[in-house]
Symmetry: C2
Subunit: 117 residues, 2 copies
């Protein structure tokens, strides 16, 4: 009968922008690209997409504010890299919801199998 920890409103407010940052095909592509080919500069990254360099800049800013990427200045370039911990955060949030879901299913099951007034 152990209630699993529910996601607090605070957690939800942290999770929402995180998922929102993941909710764009170009940004997901950027993450995958950074995964597959390692840290890269802006022009290097934008060369792999159909949109303009400035569009990529904005996407990287969004990812950065969500904590999913970090950047370091190197000479005249800026090198972008993934931040794995935030990816793990998103993973954990989904885990929380999934567990709550599983628990709900179990309780529903128990409810259905019980004779009730």
């Amino acid at each position: 009968m152990s209630k699993p920890e529910a996601l607090s409103p605070a957690k939800l407010k942290d999770a929402a922008p995180l998922f929102a940052a993941l909710g764009d095909a170009t940004r997901l592509g950027l993450l995958v690209s950074l995964c597959a080919s390692g840290p890269a500069s802006l022009t290097r990254l934008s060369g792999r997409f159909e949109v303009s360099r400035q569009a990529i800049t904005k996407h990287l800013e969004v990812l950065s504010e969500a904590g999913l990427v970090t950047s370091v200045r190197e000479g005249r370039e800026r090198i972008w890299a993934l931040e794995p911990t935030r990816l793990a955060d998103a993973h954990a949030y989904l885990d929380r919801i999934s567990r709550q879901w599983d628990d709900a299913l179990a309780r529903l099951q128990a409810f259905v199998e019980t004779d009730r007034p």
Copy 2:
């Protein structure tokens, strides 16, 4: 040296709307609420949030189009419930990226530890 399967562009285009649907605090709250208290009607759900009933309707439509919830008409009510498989999908997508990330880290590690010209 096995390359992990990269997320294909097709997968990315499926994943993006899914994460986008998760990228709103109210919608996450709805999912959690449906998890915690089971299937519920619109007014029942909207009673738990600060926004109007119509706003909740729109959020439920978004979740529905993302495949995260389903609804069934029951008398004058419409009952909304979670769709667990889509939650698992999101989970799987993050897994894919995480694995790619881990692999990238390993390759980076190997690269750093190698004497190169």
